[in-house]
């Protein structure tokens, strides 16, 4: 399923321009959408699900025009969505909650629905707490249940917004693997501000900055952008003012800094091989976005 976003803009009340003339094509497979908090990722996700409408521009998904009610309905029939601020009914058990969402997604056959709910509870490792009320669930458990509800209808299009927030490292790795497997025969849009999630699951990505599309290409190309701009240096003093400090590790009474800067931040700084995170920061610097919160 192919997603075409053409010159889309969205301004919210209070004149906050969340998206500004964004054009983007998302092919089948998995696509990472990276950006700092407030970059416009969630707005774009909500536009893709049909929850909100753009002020201008056009979105077509699998040939369905999202400006029409029929188009939105057609897309919602094959959509799985995990929102960033996921909510649940505290008075329902995990199994009941999934059953309710499954009914709303059109899984009318009772035995099929029960089987599917059971399979997904197993998949997200919640089968043993399936009868427990959701009010007692931790953030990570809720997130896993959110993933399960998104998969209920075996969606052709899966949109996940900050899916790994609140997951422990083991769960995060498991979920990333699951996403990659799902993307083999689906379109998956993974929106996150966690660079490592994109680095481990995607080959293609788009980067949003202050509501504008500032990059669309491969993970490898974005990483390459930082070549010659990533430095390692050891210092006992304060961090250098030039560039963006990505890490500061204690090293025998000194501190080893990893810095992204156009020029060496000090005479003894050594160039090092870039990662995707370095590429992202270098891109943000080029677009004067470093004041924004850097991706994790």
């Amino acid at each position: 399923m192919r997603l075409d976003i053409h010159q889309v803009s969205k301004t919210f009340r209070g004149k906050v321009r969340a998206l500004d003339d964004v054009s983007l094509t998302i092919p089948p497979g998995i696509m990472g959408l990276l950006g700092a908090n407030g970059a416009g990722k969630t707005t774009l996700m909500r536009l893709l699900t049909g929850l909100i409408r753009p002020d201008s521009g056009r979105i077509t998904i699998g040939g369905h025009d999202m400006a029409t009610a029929q188009g939105r309905l057609a897309v919602q029939r094959v959509l799985g969505y995990l929102p960033q601020d996921l909510g649940m009914y505290p008075d329902l058990s995990a199994r009941e909650f999934l059953d309710y969402v499954a009914l709303l997604k059109g899984l009318d056959d009772r035995s099929h629905r029960r089987r599917r709910v059971g399979e997904l509870l197993e998949l997200v490792h919640l089968a043993d707490v399936g009868e427990r009320k959701l009010r007692g669930f931790s953030g990570g458990m809720r997130r896993r249940l959110g993933i399960a509800q998104a998969l209920l209808n075996d969606p052709e299009l899966l949109i996940v917004d900050e899916p790994t927030a609140g997951l422990d490292p083991e769960e995060r790795i498991r979920f990333r693997t699951l996403l990659s497997q799902l993307a083999e025969r689906r379109t998956v849009v993974l929106s996150t501000h966690i660079v490592d999630d994109v680095a481990q699951t995607c080959t293609e990505l788009a980067v949003l900055g202050q509501g504008r599309l500032i990059y669309r290409g491969t993970v490898a190309d974005l990483t390459e952008r930082a070549t010659g701009r990533v430095w390692s240096m050891v210092s006992s003093g304060p961090p250098p003012s030039a560039g963006t400090v990505l890490s500061a590790l204690p090293a025998g009474g000194m501190i080893r800094y990893r810095i992204v800067a156009a020029t060496p931040p000090s005479a003894d700084a050594q160039p090092v091989a870039p990662t995707l995170e370095d590429g992202y920061v270098a891109l943000a610097q080029q677009h004067s976005l470093t004041a924004a919160e850097p991706a994790a």
């Binding site: 909510g87 649940m88 329902l92 997604k105």
Partner: protein, 265 residues
Amino acid sequence: MTAFAATTSYELRMQLRKPAIWIATVIPYGLYAVLATMGTQDLERLTQDTDPKTWMAASLGWFTPLLAMVFGFVLADRLVRDRKLGVAQLLDVTPSNRSARLFGKYLGACAATAIPVALVYLIVGATFAIWRDRPTALLWAAATFAAVVVPLLLLTGALAFLGPQLMPTPLFRTLIVGIWFWAGATEVESQFPSLAASVLSLTMDYPLHVFFGSRDPAGPFEGAALNVLRPEPTVGTALLSLALILAIAAAILAAARALRFRVSE
């Protein structure tokens, strides 16, 4: 199963699990039981009444003013909580019909709210049936419940779906007390324009008076404001009262629906 049936079923389940609806039923009926032991003039009249129809009507007449307030209180959070909990966006991206979901939620919540009241009222009817050896009291209990409590519940339920979308829920809960006074509990003789004893009364005076022989007033009062809403009590005006209450409930619910989905449509 349709979105309507699914939502009705799950909303009913969730609302029945809420302790508030049981507490909110026990308190007014508990107060009633306390008042009953104090031996008021109304109670003396009630204890001497042997007609199951008028007895059920009279006993219901005691509860209905409080019921409007209780229903408004317990139903006030049902629609707005979807947004507060963050569930609304999850449900809104499903291919289910939105009107069916909203109507299912409304009926499920109202039905669950009615169940504790219905149980208590059934006990009241059964008590009379055994005490006076008049089993028809149970039928009259069902009839008065259907003609009086159900329309009242549907109206206050619709108000509770609309009001908290326009104002904070605690403010709506306060306002429902004001509505309760204005539309049922004030003195009819007062110059203050009140809906008491009118076809729009929240105590359902016309159906109670005409169909079940309640002694509670219904009809025009000399010198009272808004007498235009107090025609002579007849079968026609009692039916008109029921139709008006249900029509207003439908209109309010339609407004609640429009408001709930205004952002995303």
